[in-house]
Subunit: 143 residues, 2 copies
Amino acid sequence: MTEHSLWRFSRALHHALQERQTDQLEAVLDDNIDWAIYGPIDMFAFFGARHGKRPVIEVVRQITDVVRLHRFDRESLLLGEDSAASLMRYSLTSAGAGTPISVRVAQFAQFEGGRLTSLRAVIDTFDLVEQTLGREIHLPKIA
Amino acid sequence: MTEHSLWRFSRALHHALQERQTDQLEAVLDDNIDWAIYGPIDMFAFFGARHGKRPVIEVVRQITDVVRLHRFDRESLLLGEDSAASLMRYSLTSAGAGTPISVRVAQFAQFEGGRLTSLRAVIDTFDLVEQTLGREIHLPKIA
């Protein structure tokens, strides 16, 4: 039984985030990949949409400039024939001060011929912003 | 072919969010449902974890007190035998001022005997907070 394409992509992504090596990732990304991580681009320029392999590799390098991946837990997983959805929990540290950051990320991936053609990632970004700032943002109670 | 459990839950949830009727939802939730929508509970008390049908119905009622669902788009979908992952885009209006709010939600659902036993939802919460406040929160540029 052939290994699902998710695992090769997952190994390549985590290798990039742990070792700052993007060579495996380059081999897994489709040339016309459609990519988006939703979040505040004012704080982190690597959020937002990208099209094509070079811009995506650049995004991953920008992420590795800021955080280092320590461990990940896959809390939910669904595999389709050429698609996958994962609920991940990443334990990171900031590259500068070494501050621990824990973030939950929902990932929706599509593959063609073993290569990643689409990725959508949703993050609990308010929590991420507060952890990055190292302080709480005061919010009014709405409900 | 039997309909996937997701569709009955999805209809019941959207009926609740559009019509403020939770009777269909009550019939779809497992008594011991494990539920979590990750987000800032200081602003919205309906965020966070709940266990059991009554607390979940209460959460949904709290949501319907604050927003009304206008439309939804399912941007990604994966179905397992007794599970589902969806990337949804909801168009809401605040129940008070009628302010339009657009929010992307990643949902991971598990079912047993046609009933929802687990739901995990991840939202781009920083964007949701800014839309709710009606103004931008200034962020330092980190990367």
